[in-house]
Symmetry: C2
Subunit: 264 residues, 2 copies
């Protein structure tokens, strides 16, 4: 089995996972990548556990047909509900976005007070709280669901006063709780970093798991001797289940450049 | 064929169509109703024409299995893209939400300047503009997509300062254009009426198609002699493709009381 030269598979509920792809490309520029965004059913963050697990299984199958050597679940909601189940069911390395972010946050905090912002489903799953507690039981975690952040990012309102007002509304309790570290528990949120910094103040560290996830992928590929060995340019394919209105604009926001995507 | 005592079918992309059901119950309290909300794939308003048409077909089939005598497409996005196609394909009366709202707006306006607010897909389809122009070519129409309104309603932020700020941002151009009538082109928007009134001022009439749709359904049932004739209590069934997080709360907001729903 020479899997080394097969692509890394990445799936997300939509296009937010492209923030993870951006970091993968930065850290592993030679790797082939197949991205699958389930844009026909986005968002997952308000849906039921059952739906999220079923959709995640289906996304895995799409990637396995493309002969991926490993899979990145680049969706916090899927990682929260489906990661364990997917790992039992599919026998290839699967990396989620919760553990890398949780590990980084536990390293960064000094006062052992961490805030987590995410979709309602991710917050309800308590996945970050459990992952952080596994590292250090003494850490106190405050969570806040921010369901309006994804639509604000998708509207492109990244620096509007309204966005700051929404952030103040959501983050008020976290500010008062005295956290020194804030986990951005959704792949859309890195685009709101400047607003979040303004609202939280310079003393609170923002942990964006995209970079940590890419580092974890590199580590896994290295350990399993799965890093690509062949020559030639890296190929990147972008698959979507629907071509949403304003697809090009949204994809460019996340990735930083234009992509061609195939609807399957 | 004695269809009179069969239910009226209603479908929507999610739970917003319950605002239409509320009006149906008010106007036709004796009618059986089967509602189907495609909560697993909500929202439709940012997705492609092809996806919207395919989803609408599938929703029709769910209702036809329940022996509905007619169908209300209680989703502006589905009505905009799929109504004509569904009418060609399925041979039962189908009422959409665009025409009743457009007709009412054309009746209400005095200065022949109408504004339409809706999802990006509905605005892109130009369905309201065409439906209003069919009534009166002299009417000038200004449209504005308001993608943040649905998430704001679903968050329950119906009277927050932030919601007013978002409404000011979207409605600024419409206010300056001198419209005297504003069509609420999405079933979620009636819940924002108090904010919309504040922002637009008392002189602008808000047209909410839910009431007009119910009146149209009554007219169709009467004309086709399909009004229910049997005795006994009206039965109302609520079907959903996923039980989203906070389902009960959201359903109660739209309908005004608690419902039990069956996931299919």
């Amino acid at each position: 089995m020479y899997l080394n030269n097969n692509p890394i598979g990445v799936f997300d509920s939509g296009l937010g996972g492209l923030t993870v792809v951006k970091e993968l490309i930065r850290l592993l520029p030679r790797e082939h990548i197949v991205y699958y965004g389930d844009t026909a059913r986005v968002p997952y963050g308000t849906k039921s556990r059952e739906a999220i697990i079923r959709f995640s299984h289906e996304n895995m199958r799409v990637l396995l047909k493309r002969n991926v050597k490993m899979v990145v679940v680049a969706c916090n909601t899927s990682s929260s509900y489906a990661l364990g189940i997917l790992r039992k069911h599919f026998h290839l390395p699967i990396v989620g976005v919760i553990d890398p972010g949780a590990r980084k946050a536990a390293e960064v905090t000094r006062n052992k007070k961490i805030g987590v912002i995410a979709t309602p489903a991710t917050v309800n799953s308590r996945s970050y709280a459990r992952a952080i507690a596994r590292r250090d039981r003494a850490i106190k975690i405050s969570s806040q669901a921010c369901p309006l952040f994804v639509p604000l990012v998708e509207e492109g309102w990244l620096r509007k006063p309204v966005t700051t007002a929404v952030a103040r509304e959501y983050l008020g309790p976290l500010r008062r709780s005295g956290i020194d570290t804030l986990v951005l528990g959704c792949t859309h949120y890195p685009l709101l970093k400047s607003v979040l910094k303004d609202v939280m103040g310079a003393k609170v560290a923002l942990v964006d798991s995209a970079h940590e996830v890419a580092a974890e992928v590199k580590r896994v590929l290295h350990e399993r001797r799965l890093l690509r060995t062949s020559g030639g340019r890296a190929r990147r394919a972008f698959l979507i289940s629907d071509r949403p209105q304003q697809f090009e604009k949204t994809a460019r926001e996340f990735l930083g450049y234009n992509i061609k995507a195939v609807k399957i």
